[in-house]
């Protein structure tokens, strides 16, 4: 790990991403970092004046992982000298956390801590939905998606307006985005329509398009029916039947399917389609079609960990950390290509160091940046460049904002 912090961690891009600027601002100096050291020692409320200080400490402590927290009204490291309760979080990226654990009751390919390219599809579907909702509906532009190193993904939103959200507003955005609700005992976890049963109305405008074939509807056929075969097993079949609100219909289908034990998920769902078609344009058909849409959502709508997003002072593992159990680096992911991402192909710390040893050591240039690192000579490069581009956009916005201010000030001087 120490070698990783010495030679590979991309300090500058990381700093620019948090700071939105080249000279350290409060976004960096008043920012909390928390380190987890070997033996489960957990150090909270660290903060640093410069990225050099940060790098020094990281190399000294050699933490197994570290987390990024909020920007406070004072320097977090001064917490002890402040009055109790005086240190208050003020700004913080809006973050989202999606974890495979929440899909354990659905996926059939892996269980527990395992993850493969196949079950990654759940995450990919979730990313597509969330990314477009956050951009189109909420108007955010600076989203960074980061692989969590094992079974999930994080999203960091750095727009100025997102940083400034209060806890109440964060709670509202989570409430708006959350569709999957109810604990383990809740069979039907999607209840976003007004009214129920025959009286159920249409889906909210933000969710309605998602059930179409070009969105989650398509994923449903490919992932749930064809690949994961969620309704092949008896248990899966029972869940499906329980989600059909019409008792006669589910009885009829149960009979049909128990006569044909090996019937595939895809056929089962097709059976339901046929039955609905036969009902023509009736209220009953309408209700069942609504139930079908809800099933698609229940299996594929993003299952976000709400608590992570709701509070400014929540800490979240930093990008480019190494996951202690898998050795994988928490690399950024292009949301447009979330589908192609394969968690098993992510660079690991061991692999990267091996690559470094293979390649030739360049001659140290006179006056070279001690924080520059060697990542350019490894397969980490494209990922770091992704962070760089992202940070540049943030810096550009800060610059524009500053110029705009100068201009308006100048004009009011007159």
């Amino acid at each position: 790990m120490l070698q990783f912090y010495k030679r590979l961690f991309p300090y500058r891009p990381f700093f620019h991403w948090l700071n939105h600027d080249h000279t350290p601002s409060r976004l960096f100096t008043h920012r909390e970092f928390a380190f987890t050291l070997a033996g489960d020692v957990y150090l909270r409320y660290n903060s640093f004046g410069t990225v050099e200080d940060f790098a020094r400490e990281l190399r000294r402590l050699n933490p197994s992982r570290f987390e990024v927290g909020a920007i406070y009204n004072a320097r977090p490291k001064d917490k002890r000298t402040l009055r109790a309760g005086a240190l208050q979080p003020q700004l913080r990226e809006l973050v989202f956390d999606i974890d495979m654990t929440d899909y354990d009751s659905i996926r059939t390919c892996c269980s527990g801590k395992g993850i493969c390219k196949r079950c990654w599809s759940f995450i990919a579907a979730a990313v597509t939905v969330l990314d477009s909702a956050l951009r189109n509906q909420f108007g955010y532009r600076h989203l960074l998606w980061v692989y969590s190193g094992r079974r999930g993904i994080h999203c960091w939103i750095s727009d100025q307006t997102a940083l400034a959200l209060t806890d109440e507003q964060r709670k509202a955005i989570v409430g708006y985005l959350e569709v999957i609700k109810g604990g383990a005992e809740m069979v039907k976890k999607v209840n976003v329509r007004l009214g129920t049963g025959f009286g159920a109305g249409p889906l909210p405008p933000s969710i309605k398009p998602l059930v179409q074939p070009q969105e989650l509807g398509g994923y449903f056929t490919e992932v749930i029916l064809e690949d994961q075969k969620c309704f092949d097993s008896d248990e899966g079949t029972e869940t499906l039947l329980a989600l059909i609100p019409d008792k006669n219909m589910s009885a009829k289908l149960r009979k049909l399917w128990s006569a044909d034990p090996g019937r595939s998920s895809i056929k089962k769902f097709a059976d339901l389609n046929v039955e609905i078609k036969n009902l023509g344009d009736t209220q009953q058909a309408k209700m069942l079609r609504a139930a079908q849409e809800d099933i698609i959502l229940q299996y594929l709508y993003p299952r976000i960990d709400a608590e992570v997003s709701k509070h400014r002072n929540h800490l979240l593992k930093a990008p480019f950390c190494v996951h202690p159990a898998t050795g994988r680096v928490c690399v950024p992911i292009d949301p447009e290509k979330a589908d192609e991402f394969d968690p098993e192909k992510v660079p690991t710390v061991g692999g990267l160091l091996y690559e470094l040893n293979l390649s030739e050591q360049p001659k140290a240039e006179e006056g070279a940046d001690p924080l520059r690192g060697d990542w350019e000579r490894t397969s980490l490069k494209p990922y770091v460049e992704m962070l760089q581009r992202h940070a540049q956009e943030l810096a550009r916005e800060t610059r524009d904002e500053r110029q705009r201010k100068i201009k308006t000030e100048a004009s009011t001087d007159w």
Binding site: N136, G139, K171, A172, Y176, A184, G201, P202
Partner: protein
């Protein structure tokens, strides 16, 4: 009685007057955003009594919110309390507006409303917690009054506060995205001619409540608020302005500290508010004369625990495991029940059994238990969670078991659970399920309490007991358990008092010797 000038901290006087006529000009509307501090001299006596009267109203509001009262209950209770302590009449009530006496009354009422509000600002600006609670109670009061206001007068008030909301013009409504979105929003809300309404555009952060409940169409960070939801914008504006004003007052407060006659009054006011409302369960009045050992918990659970805790207990027994929030909810409950930290550790250790190594248990779980008991970390005294908290915060994820079964179970599973754990037959579950459907989860829980305690003579509608004509409904799992244990003890005492008699108990003959 002596006059104090209690106003330096209110801000700069705009006009100097004690004259009734001019005052009328200052209170033209019943509703107020409280933009202008009182200008006339206020006696110390008025200063205090006005504030206490307002406090009575606010305290009632806060306690209603904590007790999960319905909107309608809240409205009625608040209006009743206001009528008693802080009446506020309309300009045009019952055609007597021309009556000079009446308008003098109106002025006095509005003056009192204004002064009491500003005094409480002083008392409640001192800490974040107080500010938050004050804003919540005041905003609620404002909402209730707003809904209660005469339509014409309300419009007059709205015109007077000059809100600058951006109206969405017809051009923008023709934009493809906006048009489709508004159409779909109308379909979703099932409102005919939704699109034809007038819309205001505001950053979504101004109307978080509407956003959270998907009541408005969102596009590029803007919320499109139809005029019928205008009230939400007004309430938000009220809240934002008040929050801001309180912060300003807090900064200005040190200057007031010079007047030592007012400080004790203010201290007294804020303490009264804090003490008057028990926001968390304070512990059973009776310790039932026994300490609870780990072994007793199974028995207590089946006899006395509300469904949320029964569910956690049964899950724990079944899975030999609970997820984090489940553990937390249950540990704090057991703590408030009177289980010592030592016994709690024993209980959890046994519960996890061989599925976990001692090492892991000691490292991760023991610490958390001790933390919940305030013996580790920042050593805070964490209160057991109230129904309100359980119902509304930390919603259980798809594989978690904490929360309130009445809210977080699907109806079918809830029905199964009610018959399996409490033996309540389907025929008697109707009212419970109806309450659940109406989202009155604590009423559902109260009804289950009545049914399962019928053997102690609890009848329908009696809830956890009645006092001063009011029925106590379930508001805290520990209160539920304590009352259940009380009933059991009362019954045992009654039985003891009449030894060697046959007692008819729940259909079975129990013979005491």
């Amino acid at each position: 009685m002596f006059n104090v000038r209690a106003r330096p901290s209110f801000g700069k006087p705009i006009a100097n007057s004690g004259d009734v006529k001019q005052d009328l000009g200052r209170y033209p509307h019943r509703l107020s955003f409280y933009d202008t501090p009182p200008q006339d001299d206020v006696t110390v006596e008025d200063f205090e009594t006005f504030a206490i009267d307002r406090l009575r109203v606010l305290a009632e509001i806060e306690s209603s919110l904590i007790r999960n009262r319905t909107q309608e209950e809240l409205r009625l209770v608040t209006l009743a309390q206001s009528k008693k302590y802080l009446p506020l009449g309309a300009n045009s009530a019952s055609g007597m507006d021309k009556n000079a006496e009446r308008s003098k009354d109106r002025i006095a009422e509005r003056r009192k409303d204004n002064i009491s509000h500003f005094v409480l600002r002083l008392a409640f600006c001192r800490s974040e917690e107080l500010r938050r609670r004050f804003v919540k109670a005041e905003t609620t009061l404002f909402k209730i009054r707003y809904a209660d206001d005469d339509t014409v007068e309300r419009q007059g008030f709205l015109d007077s506060i000059k809100l600058n909301w951006e109206k969405v013009d017809e051009e923008e409504k023709k934009d493809a995205n906006i048009k489709a979105g508004l159409q779909a929003q109308g379909d979703y809300l099932r409102k005919a001619d939704y699109v034809g309404d007038t819309f205001y555009k505001t950053p979504w952060t101004q109307v978080p409540e509407l956003v959270e409940r998907r009541k408005v169409f969102l596009w590029q960070g803007w919320a499109y608020v139809p005029s019928r939801e205008q009230s939400t914008l007004v309430f938000q504006e009220f809240q934002t302005r008040l929050e801001h004003a309180l912060e300003m007052t807090a900064k200005a407060l040190p200057r007031l500290d010079e007047d030592d006659r007012l400080i004790p009054v203010l201290e007294h006011l804020s303490r009264g508010f804090m003490a008057g409302v028990p926001s968390e369960y304070a512990g059973p009045e009776d310790d039932f004369g026994e300490t609870i050992s780990a072994d007793m918990i199974d028995d207590l659970s089946s006899k006395h625990f509300p469904l949320c805790m029964r569910n956690l207990h049964d899950r724990l027994r079944k899975d030999r495991h609970l997820k984090h929030f489940g553990r937390l909810q249950y540990t704090l409950f057991l703590k408030a029940l009177g289980v010592s930290v030592e016994e709690a550790v024993v209980f959890w250790r046994k519960a996890y059994g061989g599925s976990m190594t001692d090492d892991k248990f000691n490292k991760e779980y023991k610490y958390n238990i001790r933390h919940s008991y305030g013996l580790e970390g920042k050593r805070a005294n964490y209160p057991a969670k109230s129904c309100q908290t359980i119902l509304t915060s930390n919603q259980p994820g798809p594989t978690e078991s904490h929360g309130c079964p009445y809210r977080h179970f699907s109806p079918e599973n809830l029905q199964l659970t009610l018959s399996a754990t409490y033996g309540i037959p389907a025929s008697e579950q109707m009212e419970i399920m109806a309450a659940v459907k109406g989202q009155h989860y604590h009423i559902a829980c109260t009804r289950a309490f009545e049914l399962t305690h019928a053997k102690y003579g609890v009848k329908k509608g009696e809830g956890l007991g009645t006092a001063n004509g009011a029925t106590e409904t379930v508001s805290h799992p520990n209160r539920y358990a304590a009352r259940s244990r009380e009933l059991e003890k009362e019954m045992a005492d009654r039985v003891k008092a009449k030894p060697a008699v046959e007692v008819k108990l729940d259909g079975e003959d129990v013979v005491m010797e």
